[in-house]
Structure formats: structure tokens, C-alpha cells
């Protein structure tokens, strides 16, 4: 118990949890309710102590099963005890205390065994057998003389009203070997079966992995082989994009020479241009005209320009006897000659 009490996590005592888990495993492996033992263990043979003498060697050697030798009822004290179900983890201590209080023998002369015979109603009904050590030793010695020579493992037990109860400390260590061997064999077969199913499930994945590996290899080889032509292709793509960009750039900047000719041909001889500026598609002209408004109308009528506007008012230059003007206009797209 002291070892159990040392199991704790963040202050929580894990001793009880550990004992319950161990109890659960024992119930699964050895309990009658789960049925594993009944399924995997060869059937137990029950023999009364007085029947041992009447058995011959040949009949004992015919079977390899285990034997429970029943101590005569007259030499067995049977008692019953009830325990709450959730106290099963303390079953051993409770039975010991019960035996100590009910045994007519001295402590060191007392042997006992217990078995849960009923779990109904949230409580455990337990049958306990109490035998004097001397009786047990004699029975064990007698049984050993008969059975050991035939290689039959045995244990001592006694019958209560409801069950056959094994006597603790008088069970041959080999008595559970056939059960454990069968259980182990089943577990191995089960694991092998599961491994087989897992392998079958993995076959498509393995196939895909192999295919992927083949494609990886093919990709590597093809990449290596076509390295040069890929470079050529990349150079082509780069050159294509550069040519495209350059063509777009030059298309966006119209040639001004045709526009200069157009302005010159559209301008009447009576109009003198002092300044002509082109930036992108914006044309600005400054000069002198007899009638600047007429000149503005003329430029509009050519259809070559849009948004023909005069940012400043026309003013009369008295020296030249003409109107001074400034006009701005946008070059019409698609007419760059």
C-alpha cells in the first residue's frame, strides 16, 4: 500500500487508479464473467481426494489437463462475505480480515481461498473456504505422490454451496500454463492476422509510393536531359515578353514627325506659330492669328485633335495687329500616320 500511495500526479493519488487497472486486467484474464479463461483453458478435472487412490497410472496419463483436487467437505470451513462492488480492489485485505476473525485455527495454521460467486445489486457475494494448514499439507502431499509422477499439474480446492473455491498457496505454478499458452498463441495469431490485413491495406499505398518514386526518377532524368532546351525555352519566353513590352512602349509614344506635318498643313498661312510643344499626346501651340477663334475652330474641324481648348483668353497684339493665342489639344489616337 505504501508503494501505491507514492503514485500521484499533481497531488492526485493514482494508487487507487493503478489498483483498479490491475484489477480490471485480472478480471479480463481470470474472471468468469469475461470468459477468456473458459474459452482458452482446457477443461479442469475435479477429483475428490479419496478418488486419487482408485485411479490407475494409464488413465491419468491419457489426459494432459489440470486437476483440482477437492479437499473433503468435512475438513473445510465455508463462510460467506458481502462486499460493496467498488471495494473489490481491497478484496484480498477484506478476505484476510474475515478469515482471521472466523478461523478456528491459529493464524499460521490457517489456509484459505475465496471466490466471488455473485455480483448482483452492486455488491459482491464471496464464498470463503478455510482449511487448517496441516490438512492442506497432507492433501497436497498425497495428491503430489499420485499426480506428479504422471506429469499432471494440480491444485487444491473445496466446494462451497455455490462454487468450487481454489485454496490459495496450494496451486501448482504450472496449472495456468496451458491457458496462458493458448492465450499467447491466440494473441500471436490475432496480431499476425492484423498485420496481414494492415499489409493488404498498405498495398495500394506501397504501389502509389513506388509509382511516385518512378515518376520522381523520370522527372529527374528528363529534367537533366532537357536542361539546355528548358533554358532555351526560358530565354524565348523572356525575349517574347521583352519584345512585347518594348513594342507596347514604342506604340505608346507616337512619332511626332507626322503630327508636326499635320499641324503645319492644318494651320492657315495667316497664323504664325511662336511655340509648339508636344509631350506624350498633349499638343500646345502658341502664336498669333487674325482670328484665333477661327483657328481653334479649324483645328477642331480637322478631326485630328480632341479637347481643343484655350487655357488663356485671346488677346490682341497691337503691334502685330493679330490676336495672341495659346491652344492645347490631345492627339487623336490611331492617327499617328
Amino acid at each position: 500500500m505504501s508503494d501505491m500511495n507514492q503514485l500521484n500526479l499533481f497531488g492526485f493519488d493514482l494508487g487507487g487508479v493503478y489498483r483498479r487497472i490491475r484489477l480490471g486486467v485480472e478480471q479480463v484474464l481470470w474472471g468468469d464473467e469475461v470468459g477468456l479463461r473458459a474459452w482458452f483453458s482446457p477443461p479442469l478435472e475435479h477429483l475428490r481426494l479419496d478418488e486419487l487412490d482408485s485411479l490407475d497410472d494409464a488413465s491419468l496419463r491419457q489426459s494432459a489437463g489440470c486437476i483440482q483436487v477437492l479437499v473433503p467437505d468435512a475438513q473445510v470451513l465455508v463462510t460467506q462475505m458481502t462486499l460493496p462492488s467498488n471495494a473489490e480492489i481491497f478484496l484480498e485485505e477484506a478476505v484476510r480480515a474475515h478469515v482471521v476473525s472466523h478461523s478456528p485455527f491459529a493464524d499460521e495454521e490457517t489456509c484459505w481461498g475465496s471466490k466471488i460467486v455473485d455480483r448482483a445489486g452492486g455488491s459482491l457475494a464471496i464464498d470463503i473456504i478455510i482449511v487448517s494448514r496441516r490438512t492442506a499439507e497432507e492433501a497436497a502431499s498425497h495428491a503430489a505422490n499420485v499426480l506428479r509422477s504422471c506429469g499432471r499439474p494440480f491444485g487444491l480446492s473445496a466446494k462451497s454451496d455455490r462454487a468450487c473455491v481454489a485454496l490459495d498457496g496450494y496451486q501448482d505454478p504450472d496449472i495456468d500454463k496451458p491457458y496462458l499458452a493458448s492465450l499467447k498463441q491466440f494473441a500471436v495469431r490475432f496480431a499476425a492476422g492484423l498485420s496481414g490485413i494492415a499489409f493488404l491495406a498498405m498495398i495500394p499505398a506501397i504501389w502509389f509510393l513506388q509509382t511516385e518514386q518512378q515518376y520522381n526518377e523520370l522527372l529527374r532524368e528528363t529534367t537533366q536531359r532537357s536542361k539546355e532546351i528548358v533554358k532555351v525555352r526560358e530565354a524565348l519566353v523572356t525575349a517574347q515578353s521583352r519584345v512585347s513590352e518594348a513594342e507596347d512602349f514604342f506604340a505608346a509614344h507616337e512619332s511626332y514627325r507626322p503630327w508636326l506635318h499635320r499641324v503645319a498643313s492644318a494651320t492657315p498661312d495667316s497664323v504664325y506659330l511662336n511655340r509648339l510643344a508636344l509631350e506624350n499626346d498633349l499638343l500646345t501651340v502658341t502664336g498669333l492669328a487674325v482670328n484665333a477663334a477661327d483657328y481653334q475652330a479649324t483645328m477642331v474641324e480637322t478631326g485630328l485633335f480632341s479637347e481643343v481648348t484655350a487655357p488663356t483668353a485671346f488677346t490682341l497684339d497691337s503691334r502685330a495687329q493679330r490676336e495672341r493665342f495659346t491652344l492645347t489639344m490631345v492627339l487623336a489616337p490611331g492617327d499617328d500616320g
Binding site: 480490471g24 491495406a201 532537357s226 515578353s241 518594348a246 512602349f249
Partner: protein, 199 residues
């Protein structure tokens, strides 16, 4: 099965439940792993297939690709200075060429200035500047209109191509050499831009 499970002791139920849950978790993990492998592999294969097919296609059309690449490189030579040439050297050569054009056309070069605009320095959103440096030459010229016309013709015929992005023409002065002839002189400021492949 449920009746069998219900009649078990509580602790046995825990152990069996935990064992079954662990088993189910292991099966689920296996299924997830297998599915993940399948999906990953299928995705990888799906990615590799078109790449391999594309490269095999390149190999099949290697001759055509090489020819096309040469043609576009040749076309690019007509549009931009090569990137192998230093930008300042190319700009200086362009400036010299333009001054030569002006003088050949009969214009007097009053001043000129070169500016090299690299893609890093470009911030006007012009896409051409992302792939090209711009070699911009500002020229101040004096001369008659006919000379300006000849100069613009020379610019338009130059290879690599040149773009005049702005021009400002002012009448300089009137001069009367004799009673019948009038010579009009112009002061011209213009900016000519050439492209150089950016590296």
C-alpha cells in the same frame, strides 16, 4: 454482445473499452496514414506528369524553340540595346549618335544630357521600365524646320528603336538675308528615349 458487456465488472469494462478504443485508434491511424500516403503520392504524380510531358514536348520541338528564340532575340535587337553593354556606355553612344544625326541634318547642338533610368529608380508605373533600363537624352538644338524634319526622320529609322517623348519648338528669330528670302530658325528641346535590356 451488449448484454455480455453490461454484465462485466466495471474495471473489466474499462480495460476492455480502453483496449478496443486503442485498437480502433490504431486502425484509424493506419487508415489515415494510408489515405495520406495515397493522397500525397497521387498529388505528386499529378504534379510530375504535366512537368514531364512539358519537358518531353520541349525536347520534341527543340529545333522550333531554338529558331523562335533566335528570331525574338533578333527582334529584340531592333528594339533595345543589349544588356551586355554597360548602360552608361550605351547611353553615351546614343548621345553621340543623336548629336551626329542633328549635325548631319543641319541642326546646331546647343546642349545635351544623358539620364539612365534603371528599373529600381523607375516609379511612373511604366511596365517597360521593369524589363528595360531607359536611356533618355535631352537635346537642345537650333536650326531650320527642314533640318528638324530630317533629324526626326533619322531618329525614326534608327535601330534599336528610339522614342521621342517630348518636343518643345520655339521660333528663335527672323533674319532677312535679302529682300526675297526669309529663313526661319527654331530652338528645339526634345527628349529621346531608348531602351536597354535590364539585367
Amino acid at each position: 454482445m451488449k448484454a455480455w458487456f453490461d454484465q462485466l465488472p466495471t474495471e473489466a469494462r474499462w480495460v476492455i473499452g480502453a483496449a478496443l478504443a486503442s485498437f480502433a485508434a490504431a486502425v484509424l491511424a493506419l487508415l489515415v496514414e494510408v489515405t495520406a500516403i495515397l493522397i500525397d503520392s497521387a498529388q505528386d504524380i499529378g504534379r510530375h506528369k504535366p512537368r514531364i510531358a512539358r519537358m518531353l514536348g520541349y525536347e520534341t520541338t527543340a529545333q522550333e524553340l531554338q529558331t523562335a528564340a533566335r528570331e525574338f532575340e533578333h527582334a529584340l535587337d531592333g528594339l533595345a540595346y543589349p544588356g551586355s553593354e554597360d548602360a552608361n556606355a550605351a547611353g553615351a553612344r546614343l548621345q553621340q549618335t543623336l548629336r551626329g544625326f542633328a549635325e548631319d541634318a543641319g541642326l546646331t547642338v546647343v546642349g545635351s544630357q544623358l539620364a539612365v533610368l534603371t528599373p529600381e529608380g523607375a516609379d511612373n508605373g511604366d511596365e517597360a521600365k521593369e524589363l528595360f533600363d531607359q536611356l533618355a537624352v535631352d537635346l537642345s538644338l537650333d536650326g531650320p524646320p527642314i533640318a528638324l524634319d530630317a533629324f526626326l526622320v533619322a531618329i525614326s529609322q534608327h535601330a534599336p528603336a528610339l522614342a521621342t517623348v517630348s518636343v518643345d519648338i520655339q521660333r528663335k528669330r527672323w533674319s532677312r538675308r535679302d529682300a526675297d528670302a526669309k529663313f526661319e530658325f527654331l530652338t528645339v528641346r526634345l527628349r529621346v528615349v531608348a531602351l536597354r535590356v535590364a539585367i
